[in-house]
Symmetry: C2
């Protein structure tokens, strides 16, 4: 198949159409959004083996992984649609009038309303779950926005099939055709033209720091700046506390051997730093983990560009003074493959060398040996913002290191105890976002239905006649949603 | 009194202290935040007549207004403190584990945690409610942040007394002294140094477009960009629908005569555009309103700079082709005063001249005569983002103009029916924020306890032992807060 870039001169017209579709879609009831999203999931399922085969060819990901990723994507669409309909995310709040007060208190009611057309840039490492009909698109549709997706140049055929599924769902649900627009363009000009268009009102992105930061800057330099949620870069530090490491050396090495190499290390939550206290336990852990790394076969990466970047960044890291190779896959990797790699350094070296703080996208991890907990604290305090951090720790370890644990809390979006960071559960309590540079706005998440709030804003209605209010805010609460009425959460009607 | 600028070289040390205080304060229970905020309110009250007299001298605002603004500020501190303690704003969400699922589902719980030190820039027009201990400071303290306030150069003495009240409250509550830091500096360098410091994590601002936009740009150009909530500029359009205007011409003129001139027009919600349909009713309204304007005495503005800007912008507006003066205060204004002013133009002229769209801070309003509802729609579609919009409309007017009403919904943060935009109720349902340039992020509010969320971000705890979780997320729900447990809002304990 051949995918021609969308002409830059066509983009304005496409976004005008998206703007018109937005104004039709935003007025529809929440239930219509949910039905639409369920229908997209159905159509993705109906796309069948062709979709899986195309994605396998374009991404080098194995069939089982892609099938499970498609299921996850369908679950996202359905569960975010259900959440949209359940209405908690609307943050409906009602403060009733008090005419007896001097001056009289007006009736004020607010709820979230959609921002407008959203541009979505998908990720190469999640061709379904964070691409064309992925989390950002699902959140935008749930919020009531229209969506423009720029197909990822590494999987244009996959993107085309999913786009077709969305269009079939639009047609089956009788929605405006331009509610979803699919654009091709590998160069930066396409992205810039999309993000800087005055009628685009928000951006969702999952990918590299360079890509996300460019979008963020373009969006902020507009006459009317718009919100960008870019999920970019994270090394996901793991803190190996002494009590836990002593008791569970083998299991920890086992778990992390798996987590570092899962999916050829191509996850944004891949654990890139293993921070422990120098000594026999850490040595034994490093040796055991090294064995696991040695025996891991190299794997084909998503595309040649990502493989090149891996080899280059790994080389740069290993050429830094004081950063030593511990283990690599014993089988030599081909040019489009990545070999698992474990390196080792000491805290001082790490702290003073920013190169070692950078994400190396792929199955690479660095053991950092600290003299003591105090030095662990110094390492933690010097880290940039992260999607996740993990404590391999007993309860005593946590109690005895309060300051360190508080420092770690302050730098990440999700804090795991005795687990691995890979595997991002799709649920309401999930936070997949963190302080910069993990994301561009730590106050939002891109996984879980709370991600809908990225694309919505509160609108307050003051002194409106009940019959003209949106159903969400009417006295009778016809939708039966949770609302905060005079500071008290309730699903009750206001009519006594 | 003499207020020396804080030396730029001292700022780094002050922010380091704020950072240390933040890490102590953030760990305290919600109840400690509420007690602290109540104590600040008490101390503001105890500051007594001296505070009011100083503010009168520095702002030219009358005693009654300042006394009521102090009460409002104390109410904000108390009610946001109560909200902090009530805990709804934490958005506590729990998804419990499911070991039977394959793969097992981990236990994940999230809640909002504070961002870090917040820099607050107060407003000249609200020396109490949006200044030193105003809404932004109250929200930041409620969120668990430390605060650095740059005193407004137009009321340094007022700011000093309020800062002293905060310090007394800190001392009475046994909190770290540097939880609140007060800085002077009239030049831009002080502001820039504060906003670009790596340990400052958010900014709150109320003031001019020029000031807010500069802070926003500095914050986004940092190595680690940080959120800025700047409430900047709004002309608060009022749409005079035909049915309503015909039935209530006199009352509408009466209300708007009051709203335009209230507090010498120095409110961010001052109604600057009155958009109606050309004809006898609009003419009669304009004539009645003109009479009110004629009979309004000029009032002293907050300071000479604001008075100069008013006279200059008014002159520029009235020199635009097709923009006619309708009425002014009959008594001539002194150089530091503003005369109430009403102007008139037609829709075509307004639409094609961006100068007429700009806010003129003060008692100035412009009547825009449209040929029909279709032209009203064109005017609405061409407006920038607004804090408020108002419909003077009967139910029929609203039903008959669905597209127009939808367009208006899309451009503002608060939509009033048959009222005036001045008067911003402090309650949870309030939205005081709107699409750019009204604010820099339409997803947040600076009035009402939801403003706390500007300064907090979600942190998810995965697989934590119950005893080590924050109280907010423990199984027993010891704080009795509302939480969403497995998608259902409840105050129940998880222990059966």
């Amino acid at each position: 198949m051949n995918f021609t870039d969308t002409a830059i001169s066509d983009i304005d017209g496409l976004i005008e159409k998206s703007w018109t579709a937005f104004h039709q879609y935003r007025k529809l009831p929440l239930s219509a959004r949910a039905t639409f999203m369920r229908t997209i999931a159905e159509e993705m399922d109906l796309a069948g083996d062709d979709l899986i085969a195309t994605a396998m060819r374009e991404t080098n990901l194995p069939e089982a992984r892609l099938k499970s990723e498609r299921n996850r994507t369908m679950f996202q669409l359905r569960s975010y649609g259900e959440a949209a309909e359940r209405g908690d995310w609307l943050e409906a709040i009602i403060d009733t009038a008090d005419d007896a007060r001097n001056p009289p208190k007006p009736d004020i009611r607010k709820m979230l309303v959609p921002l407008g057309p959203v541009v979505v840039f998908g990720a190469s490492n999640f061709p379904f779950a964070y691409s064309t009909a992925g989390g950002d698109t699902a959140c935008a549709f749930a919020a009531g926005c229209s969506v423009i997706v720029k197909a990822h140049p590494a999987h244009p055929g996959t993107s085309a099939i999913v786009a077709e599924a969305i269009h079939k769902a639009i047609s089956r649900c009788g929605l405006p055709e331009d509610l979803f627009i699919h654009v091709y363009g590998a160069g930066t000009e396409t992205g810039k033209t999309l993000v800087t268009h005055p009628k685009v009102k928000a951006v969702g992105f999952t990918g590299s720091y360079t890509g996300g930061k460019a979008l963020f800057d373009w969006a902020n330099q507009r006459k009317e700046p718009i919100p960008v949620f870019a999920e970019m870069s994270s090394v996901n530090p793991v803190f190996l506390f002494p009590d836990q490491l002593k008791k569970n050396t083998e299991q920890t090495a086992e778990w992390y051997g798996g987590s570092i190499t899962l999916g050829v290390g191509q996850f944004c939550t891949n654990p890139g730093l293993l921070i422990g206290i120098a000594g026999d336990d850490l040595d034994r852990f490093t040796a055991l983990l090294g064995k696991k790394i040695n025996s891991t076969s190299p794997g084909k990466m998503l595309h040649q560009g990502i493989a090149n970047a891996y080899h280059e960044k790994k080389q740069t890291a290993l050429s830094q003074k004081g950063n030593e190779l511990v283990a690599e896959s014993e089988v030599k990797a081909a040019a489009d493959e990545a070999e698992a790699t474990l390196a080792h350094t000491v805290a001082d070296t790490f702290i003073s060398n920013p190169v070692l703080h950078q994400e190396i996208f792929g199955p690479y991890s660095l053991v950092i040996a600290c003299k003591d907990e105090k030095e662990m604290q110094k390492v933690a305090a010097g880290l940039e913002g992260q999607l996740t951090a993990t404590l391999m720790a007993t309860e005593n370890d946590i109690r005895n290191n309060e300051e360190l644990v508080e420092t770690i809390k302050n730098l990440c979006g999700r804090l795991i105890v005795n687990g691995v960071p890979t595997g991002v559960e799709v649920c309401l309590a999930m936070q997949h976002g963190g302080p910069f540079p993990a994301t561009t706005d730590s106050r939002f998440t891109s996984v879980g239905a709370d991600g809908i709030k990225r694309f919505a804003r509160p609108l307050a209605f003051q002194s409106w006649p009940d019959s003209l209010l949106p159903d969400e805010l009417k006295n009778a609460n016809p939708l039966g949603i949770i609302r905060t009425v005079n500071n008290e959460p309730t699903k009750n009607s206001l009519i006594k």
